[in-house]
Amino acid sequence: MMSFRQFAKHLVILVGLTALPILSNAGDLGPTPPKAKMNFSDNSKCVKPIADIRRNHMELLKHKRDETMREGVRTKDNSLVECIDCHVTPNKKGEYARFGEDEHFCSSCHNYAAVNVDCFDCHSDLPEDAAKILRSSNNPHNMTEGGKK
C-alpha cells in the first residue's frame, strides 16, 4: 500500500515528467516518427516542405479525399494511401506497428499530441502489401460463400 505522501510524490513526478517535453520544447523527448521508405524526390524529402506538411497535412488530405471520393480524381498527390505506403515501414524484425502504437508513423505524433483521428476506422493503417498478408493469415477461410462465417 502506498501512503498518501508517497502517492503525492508520485503524482508530482508524473506531472513533472508530462510537462517536461512541453517545457523543453520537444527536444529528444518529442515524438519520434519512424523513417520513411524514401525521399519524395532528389531535392525534397516529402511531397511538401516538412514544416508545411506537418502543419497542413490534414487540409491536404481532406481536400484530396473529397476530390477522389466524390469526383473520381485518382492522382496520387496528397493521397492518404501514398502517405501510408511510404511512411508506415516495418522495423528491423520486419514487423509493422499498428495505428495506436507509438511506433506507427501516424500515432507517433498523434499519441504525443493526443489528437484523435478517424482515418483508420475506415482506412487500413498498413501498406497494402502488408495488409494483404495479414488478411489472408487472419482469415484462412477468407472470401468464401455468401457472407457466411
Partner: protein, 402 residues
Amino acid sequence: MKKAVFKQIDGNSINYWMLLALLGSFALAAVGAHFYMEHGGHYVTGMNNQIVWGLPHVFAVFLIVAASGALNVASISSVFNKTAYKPLAPLSTLVAIALLSGGLMVLVLDLGRPDRLIVAMTVYNFKSIFAWNMIFYNGFFLIVGIYAWTMLQRNLNKYSRIAGFTAFIWRLALTTGTGSIFGFLVARQAYDAAIMGPMFVVMSFSFGLAIFLLIVMATYKWTDRPLGDATFNRLKNLLGVFVAGVLYFVVAQHLTNLYATEHHGVEAFILRDGGIYTQLFWYGQIIMGGLIPLALIYHPTTGKSRTAISIASILIVLGGLIQMYVIIIGGQAYPLELFPGKEVSSSFFDGVVNSYSPTLAEALLGIGGFAVTLFMVAFAVKIMKFLPESLADEAVDPHHSK
C-alpha cells in the same frame, strides 16, 4: 377571474431528491448503454441489416411526436384564446421542450457515428426530410423557448399570443415532418401511405396530452397544490377525443391500405399473420392503448376517479410505444417486395420475415429518454416559476370566480 400566481415548487423533500436521483440514474444508465454500443459497434444490439431501426427509434420517435402534442395546452390557450388553459400554458411549453430533448438524445446516441453530430448540424442535404427535421427540431427549441419566456416574463406577456401562434404552426410542421420520415419510404409497403403525416399529428395530440396530464396530476399531488375538477375534467375529456381520433386514423389507414392490392400482403401481416406484431397491434395498440383508456375516461364512475385516469394515461403511453413498435419494427420485419408474385430467397434474407430481439442496452437507452425528459421537468419547476400555485376551480374557471 384572479390572475394565476406562479411559484416554484419547494423541492426539498426527501422524496423530491429521491425522484431526481432515480431519474438521474436512468439517464446515466442510458449514457452507459450508449458507450457500450459505441465502443465495439452496434453488433451488441439486436439491430441488423434487415431491422436497421430498433427499439431506440421506437422511443425516440415516440418522444419527439409527444413533444409536439404536449404543446397543445399552450396552443389552445394562446392561439384559440381559451383562458381556462392559460395557467398550464408555461408548463406545457416546458414539457414539450423536455420531451423533444429526451427524444433527440436517444436518436443521436443511437447513430453509428454520434461523434459526427457536428456534420449533421452543419452540412444539410435539403432534399432530405431528415435534414429538414433537424431544422424543425432546433427551431422548436428556439421558438418554444421564446414562447415560454414571453409567458413567464410579465412585461413580455403581450407578445405571447404571436409567439404561441408561431409555435403552433411550427410544431404542426415538425410532427408532419416526423411522420413524413416514414412517408418517404416508398419502397416499404408498410409506410407508403399519405395518411401517415396527419396520423402522426393526431398521435402527437394523444401521446403528448397523456404525458402532460400525468405530469400535472403527479406534481399537484406531490406538492399538495389543489387541482380542481374543472381543469382535470377539461384535460381528460380532451384526451378522450384524441384517443378516439387516433383509433379513427388507424382504422382509416388500414382500410385504405386494404383497397390497394399491392398493400394486401403487409396488411395481412400486421392484422392477421404477423405473430408478435399482430398480437401487439390488437392487444397492445388497439385494446390496451385505445379501447380500455377510452372506457376508463368516459365511464361515469372511472371517469371521475383520478387513479383511473392516471391508469388510462399510462395505458395510452404504453399503447403509443407499442404502436410505434408495430409501425417501425413491424414495418421492417415485413420483407421488401422485390419481385411481386414471385418467391424470393438469398443469402441476405430476401423474402423472409426478419426477426428482431431488442437487447437491454437498447431498452435502457430508450427509457433514458423518458428519464431525461422527466428530470428536466422536475428540475425546471423547482428553479423557475412554471406552475400556478393553485389549479382549484375558483382560481381557474371564469364561471366559478364570478
